[in-house]
């Protein structure tokens, strides 16, 4: 597969990793956070950690829109789906996410809710057109990569003058989340972020460009390297971060030059701005309430806003108190540091955001990497 296979060359990766080992200063510890769940997944799935020297460590960030979706919003979606006239259209990622009292979209479907898995928001619009007797609610999630698609789908629904289509909007913003991770100086020592640099999201950046990261890099003095999703991209980006740290730089660099520009996709951003506006505040699972971090439909599009049409009243729901997702998302703890990891909490019975999706730090570690814990336990014994 062109533009995919060539960036999965293991030999080249090992050679670049050798350069990382050479460049990483002995005695110095480098901790980098990949913000985006897609990078978490790539690192786990390809075993990239095995290639890195011991003093270069990757920690996993909150860039997984499924993971950061609060339990209360899933409850809201289930309630919408249980309405007899509603068909809930959703990405498959959300089907198994546990809500309050062990509910989930999958279980709601079993109980009779009309829930359909779709590939594209466009398909939800076409379904609304094909089934005028049903009201299609599209369960929209995602960072800036996915928001333009929702925007265009709403535009299409308007063009077709559909009255039976609306969107339950949970789109969130990347810079806000990165800021929340970094802005910890006001917190006690134990809760301050301990990261030397970031791997910036690949496809979010095709939309927003690299400029939004500059203010963050400067303000917090951490380098950001925007990287593609393929394993060679990630390894290359890690080398670039090591170099920045060694040289005391905190710049924004773009490794994903084949797809990302500094200005991003203007058409996409215009589409987003046309349909959506900022919410004052939005709850993120594991991170709490973040200001100006999420989107809702503009009043002009009220008829396509499921929250307005069905009078959805937010009902926040709490996570298990023993859940350490907040600390894991901020790289203060590793999955194995959480009491619930592998005991009460597993991909089958996720307790918190880090386990609910295959990209979450805990899920990725469990699914691909937990064999490494044995080595550590063995070494300590």
């Amino acid at each position: 597969m062109k533009y995919i296979d060539e960036y999965r060359d293991g030999n080249l990766a090992r050679a670049i990793a050798a350069t990382i080992a050479e460049q990483a200063v002995a005695g110095r510890h480098y901790r980098f956070m990949e913000f985006c769940g897609g990078h978490t997944h790539a690192i786990s799935r390809y075993g990239i950690e095995d290639l890195l020297p011991a003093n270069v460590e990757m920690v996993h960030g909150p860039g997984c829109p499924v993971c950061v979706l609060p339990v209360g919003r899933i409850d809201d979606a289930i309630r919408l789906a249980m309405r007899p006239e509603v068909t809930l259209c959703t990405y498959a990622d959300l089907m198994r996410v546990p809500a309050t009292a062990g509910a989930s979209l999958l279980k709601a479907k079993a109980a009779g809710a009309d829930i359909r898995m779709i590939y594209s928001p466009r398909d939800a619009v076409l379904l609304a057109e094909a089934e005028p007797g049903r009201h299609m609610v599209f369960f929209a999630i995602g960072f800036e990569t996915t928001t333009p698609s929702t925007a265009l789908a709403i535009g299409l629904a308007r063009q077709k003058a559909l009255t039976n289509f609306s969107v339950f909007c949970n789109h969130v913003l990347t810079p806000s989340a990165i800021r929340a991770i970094l802005d910890t100086d006001h917190l006690p020592e134990a809760e301050r972020v301990q990261v030397d640099g970031f791997i910036g999201p690949a496809h979010v950046s095709t939309v927003i460009g690299t400029s939004p990261y500059r203010a963050l890099a400067t303000q917090f003095g951490k380098p950001v390297v925007v990287a593609g999703f393929e394993p060679l991209d990630v390894v290359q980006a890690i080398l670039m971060l090591v170099r920045q740290v060694n040289e005391g730089r905190s710049e924004v660099e773009n490794q994903y030059i084949r797809a990302v520009t500094s200005e991003g996709n203007v058409i996409a951003r215009r589409a987003i701005a046309d349909i959506f506006e900022l919410r004052d505040s939005f709850e993120w699972r594991g991170l709490g309430e973040l200001p100006l971090s999420a989107l809702r439909l503009r009043p002009a599009y009220a008829q396509f806003d499921a929250e307005r049409r069905f009078e959805v009243i937010p009902a926040p729901a709490a996570d298990n108190p023993a859940c350490e997702c907040g600390a894991v998302l901020r790289a203060l703890k590793k999955p194995v540091d959480c009491r619930l990891f592998g005991t009460a909490c597993s991909p089958e019975t996720p307790m918190g955001s880090c386990m609910v999706s295959p990209e979450g730090a805990c899920a990725a570690h469990w699914t691909y990497g937990r064999f490494r814990d044995r080595a550590k336990i063995g070494a300590a014994a």
Partner: protein, 349 residues
């Protein structure tokens, strides 16, 4: 003077539908069985017209297996629910080393199901059985009300004779044993997914649904006593099968991703939907665990067979008290193949 014979109306296969009378055991049922199933399965047992098949049983160990088929869509690239059902049961017997002796088939049909589709499925089953040197010797049909079935559900049972001297079981894998995969993975699951509405796509990928008894016979011929077990990685894919064996045998695995054959189109479809071929269903492949000394000749025998041309030694059994299936990725790093809780679903994230 003789009474006029009632002229039976012929089944209107072209445009007729299955209705509740076809499952009621009366004349309509008999007509359905005659017109569709007996025609398609064409064997002396069915021709007798009894509710059971009576036959002699050879001496030795018998294997018996049963399965239900609820696949949707019923017709997919490379197969249909009928041939799938026949192959599936033949393969379950084959995994015990058995050649299929006789099969049964029972149908639960939804009211309103087109007779033409039922005939198509039945003929497909008849052909699949005949091609494998076996036959459906007895069966049953029931009809449920509209809305209470998904077109048709099929259940098949099969019996077969296990050759003497063969000891195959999921708990027989031992550290050091070799693991051989008979061919490419992911074909069936992706072929079916390609037809699934919003998640669908255009492709030439065909389901790999096929009977494995011929391949198995060749394998037993060359390495019977050295074989520990065979299993076909159906639902859950290769990852599930390896994990099952690891649990049963109390061992681990070390697998090399680069040795696992996957068709480029299957890889592409998995990229598109965010699936891992290792979790995708197969219906014409098997995994064999064999003593290391016999691995090379077993591989050669498999590759010489039409159903095993892409056979590959993909790894070996390890000592592992955690029963992990570890894999070296083509990239060179390490990961485990996890045992998924449910079916893997496509993802956007």
């Amino acid at each position: 003077m003789s009474l006029p014979r009632l002229r039976a109306r012929k089944l209107d296969i072209r445009s007729g539908l299955v209705d509740l009378s076809h499952g009621a055991g009366g004349r309509a049922s008999a007509q359905l069985i005659d017109g569709i199933f007996r025609e398609a399965f064409d064997n002396p047992y069915l021709a007798q017209g009894n509710d059971q098949a009576v036959f002699n049983v050879p001496a030795g160990r018998m294997a018996m297996s049963t399965d239900g088929y609820v696949i949707w869509p019923l017709f997919f690239p490379g197969g249909d629910i009928g041939s799938l059902a026949v192959h599936g049961t033949i393969n379950d017997l084959a995994m015990a080393g058995a050649q299929p002796l006789h099969l049964t088939a029972s149908y639960i049909i939804e009211e309103g199901f087109p007779l033409a589709d039922l005939q198509r499925i039945a003929q497909s089953m008849g052909r699949a059985a005949a091609d494998a040197g076996t036959a459906i010797v007895t069966g049953d049909t029931k009809v449920v009300e509209r809305g209470k079935g998904d077109g048709v559900f099929i259940s098949t049972t099969g019996i077969g004779l296990v050759p003497a001297g063969l000891e195959l079981s999921g708990d027989r894998a031992r550290p050091g044993d070799c693991v051989i995969l008979s061919g490419s993975i992911g074909d069936h699951g992706i072929a079916v997914m390609s037809q699934r509405g919003s998640l669908g796509f255009e492709t030439d990928i065909l389901s790999d649904s096929a009977p494995l008894h011929g391949l198995v016979a060749a394998m037993i011929d060359v390495a019977g006593p050295s074989l520990r077990l065979m299993r076909d990685p159906t639902r859950g894919g290769l990852a599930a099968t390896l994990n099952e064996i690891a649990q049963q045998s109390g061992c681990g695995f070390r697998i090399e991703e680069a040795k696992i054959p996957v068709h480029p189109a299957v890889l592409a479809a998995c990229e598109l939907l965010g699936l891992d071929p290792l979790n995708v269903a197969n219906e014409g492949k098997l995994v064999a665990v064999v003593a290391p000394a016999a691995a090379d000749r077993l591989l050669a025998a498999m590759r010489a067979h039409p159903t095993g041309r892409q056979a590959s030694i993909i790894g070996n059994v390890t000592e592992d008290d955690l029963h992990l299936v570890q894999m070296t990725t083509s990239f060179g790093g390490g990961r485990i193949l996890d045992w998924l809780a449910g079916e893997q679903l496509p993802r956007i994230c």
